[in-house]
């Protein structure tokens, strides 16, 4: 799709300035690109390479290592159904088949309206609540076929799914795929590491200036 938009380029520069070596910003920048487009396009990787001064091959090397960076478009909602052992024993495969049948897609693909991508995933660390799934990495516990239908119906209708785990401070909202957080981390200029070769540069300002108050 696209290179980073001007507002995101601003953010990118801020992110890069947090690190002694610009290339260290690769992963946050890939998240930024995924937040913008819902996935990481080749154009975005080329743009990131320009921003941190490396080659696109080095960007794709990092990007492709991580399953959660999607290098092809995915739906607005990425539904990850766990089929690892604990969930499997409690009906996860039936749940996956149900998901495939009701959404009319095979695991790994996206509904034609671009709303849902279903994936079959390994353990997502909620075995006590099996069978479980995540939507854009937000958890749903002890999910049966009818629970699944309710979640999908809510998302289609633009409602907050009722069965979303209400972690403290969560309101059940599920933003589009790629959005990591609603409050963006921002580090004031005087507390950023700043780009400087750590082998030759002196102590960063924030270390000396009693920054660890």
């Amino acid at each position: 799709m696209a290179r980073l938009e001007p507002a995101n380029v601003e953010i990118a520069h801020e992110i890069i300035s947090r690190y002694p070596r610009p290339k260290s910003a690769l992963i946050p920048l890939l998240h930024l690109a995924q937040e913008q487009d819902g996935w990481v396009s080749d154009e975005a990787m080329v743009h990131i390479a320009e921003l941190v001064g490396c080659t696109p091959a080095e960007v794709i090397g990092t990007c492709s290592f991580y399953e959660m960076f999607k290098r092809e478009p995915v739906g607005r909602y990425l539904v990850n159904v766990c089929t690892n052992i604990a969930c499997q024993l409690l009906g996860a495969e039936d749940l996956l088949h149900h998901a495939e049948r009701t959404l009319g897609v095979r695991a790994g693909t996206t509904t034609p309206d671009g709303l849902f991508t279903v994936e079959d995933v390994e353990c997502i660390a909620a075995c006590t609540e099996a069978p479980c799934l995540t939507v854009n990495y937000r958890y749903f516990y002890k999910v049966g076929p009818s629970d699944f239908d309710a979640i999908i119906a809510d998302l289609r209708a633009g409602r907050r799914p009722t069965r979303c785990a209400a972690e403290p401070g969560e309101d059940g909202e599920i933003p589009a795929h790629g959005t990591l957080h609603r409050v963006r981390q921002s580090i004031p200029g005087d507390r950023r590491a700043g780009n400087a070769d750590p082998d030759t540069a002196g102590e960063p300002a924030w270390l000396g200036a009693g920054g660890a108050s």
Binding site: T55, F65, E67
Partner: protein
Amino acid sequence: MSDIETPVTVRITVDGQPVDARPGELVIDAAERAGVYIPRFCYHPRMKPVGMCRMCLVEIDAGRGAALQPSCMIPVSPDMTVVTDSERTRKAQEGVLEFLLINHPLDCPVCDKGGECPLQDQTVAYGPGESRFVEEKRHYEKPIPISGLVQLDRERCILCDRCTRFAKDVAGDPLIHFQGRGSSTEVNTFPDEPFSSYFSGNTVQICPVGALTASSYRFRARPWDLEETSSTCRTCSVGCSVTVQSSRNEVLRQNGVDNDAVNWGWLCDRGRFDMESGRSDVRLTDPLVGGTTARWSDALGAAVAAIRATIEAHGPSSVALLGGARLTNEAAYAWARLAKGVIGTDDVDCQLGDGLPADLVLGLPRATIADACTPKGTIVLVGPDVKEELPVLYLRLRHAVVEDGATLVELGHGRTGLSRYAARTSYAHPGGDLVERARLVAKDLDESGPITVVFGRTSLAEDPAVLAEVAAIFLAKGARFLPALRRGNVFGALDAGLAPGLLPGRRLLDDAGPATAVWGSTPAAIGRDATAILTAAAAGEVKVLLLVGADPVADGPDRALAETALERATVIAVDTFLTESGTRADVVLPAAGPSEVDGTVTNLEGRVQRVNRKVTPPGTARPDWMIAVELADRLGVEFPQDPDALLAELGAVADGYADVASALDRNPDGVLVTGACPLPATPTARRAPAPSGSTLRLVLTDSLYDAATQTAQSPSLAPLAPGTVARLNPADASALRVEAGTVVSLASARGAVDLPVVVDDGVPAGAVAVAANQPDCQVNRLLDATWPVTDVRLEVRR
């Protein structure tokens, strides 16, 4: 590595034998020096170890009990015990190989590497013999081109990280990278961004399996059908050590050989692949007289008749010789003696107006590559883009800066391949303040370490006299000089005396030494250089022009001058191909090419190395030395009759070459010829006219891939020539209202060419940078070789 001098002071035990190792030496190297070879895939002595493959696991006990450890990652320590043949080691090796083969396709029968494959060989030597893996292996499309020169078969890759480390750490072109994770990890490029490194062929050579193969060699031979000989690359003056491999009288492959003084095993792609031109079917195979095929005796007769008649009627300086930088030292010497000792002319020049004054090159204190690369030393680059012209020197200089703490300072007319490693760059407007800038740069130089000036033409469109002034500034700082002239054996040709005012052995005419006695006579007066020779020929004063591997029309800076000169003079051309100049010649003599002659060459350091014949020349083509010997014979002088005898005679007249042959037998990596001629007085460069507001000043550069015959006649390389563009500073582009891609006409007082614009902030304002000698454009129509600078007017083509 380059720490050969380090004393061996660490005593360790390898398989029960005491071994003295160097401090910091890796176990794998110490064992190998002691004759114990530990198998390996990822370790390469010229790259940092990464411990990727685990094939080198051996039992190492450094005092805390024996444990399997990768010997490529562990430096020796006192009293260390290493066991490479224990049961545990064998089991580890078997295990590693079984794992490596899990995803390996075992398509050896259709793999280029089969027969010389470390994976195949080590599986036989150390492998389990049988695999327990019955599952489906991974499959990929086979093979995919990752550049015009290199193909990648991902199934075969064992993920050793050699190619990717080479690309990033050695070449500085990280265009290939590991992608994916786990068992689906692969090496690849970014989509549609090819591995377009000038050094890509090295990855093919160091890949320990058949994952990377060279398009030019794929399926052409089996290793056991190849014959090989060691030799030296003659494509540029770095002089990389190579092994030339052939089958059925065709050179099929050229690989790098590790010469610690020169190339560390690397080659550039031009030098590696331009051997393809040797088997071109448009090579010259028979002499031509007046454009039609002739017998050698007739062609030589015609040449001698023309030379003799001209000498009789107009004196010896009516005959001139251009070229010789392509020849071996022996041939260069034979031609030098023919011109200066037999014909009696000093109008001889192996450079075509694109080089430096010979006495300046041979008079400055010379540095070696190792001198230039001294850790923590200072390198001053005043000259061409080393990456484009002397690529493996670029690798060495880059390494010195990136790994060994050398400081690079660059002076010139715009950004080069090395600029990104420079601590300081200073770009002058052509014809402007280069000398001033040199003074400023020299003032701040760190004089605690050695200073080496890599010294050559900063622009082919500027009078080189200005460079003599620059040299004097750094000379006063105690600098040594590594001359950056690119033509293959130009330094051998200079040492043989193929330049005006020069005799073999870096001697000036007025100090002829033994040459007078051996030759009978030497020229009395200093002759003309290439530009003056061509001017004299155009004026009808030089009547016979010998072109020995020279193409002044296409490959010289002043096309119009060369055309007129060749039209008026009788031209005798000796070459491997019919060049643009050759088509204008009266007599054409076909010459043997590289890998078709025996002899020696001398690189930019003054290092003499051997070149060896591997194949026979096509048709009736003869070695250049033989042609000179036969012409001399017909002119009544008997020359030594073979390369060895010619080298011996060169040694008799040129001090530095006295014992070269026997020294080469003792030291196949080369023999340094030292000594300098008296440095000429620094000329004052003609001041260039002040730039006018309406013109741009031309900077003429070179690219690695150009229209030079060997490159253009190599099918793999010819498509890589980038073509000609006009590179403009963004400020000029906006002032002139042109943007990238706009086709403009550049017009000088001499001629005009049409070119597309590229906007490039590496070009100084007020200048326009254009690459010389590209196949699509005759840029040398713009130049007059006598101008101090070249100003061009830019107009947009509508």
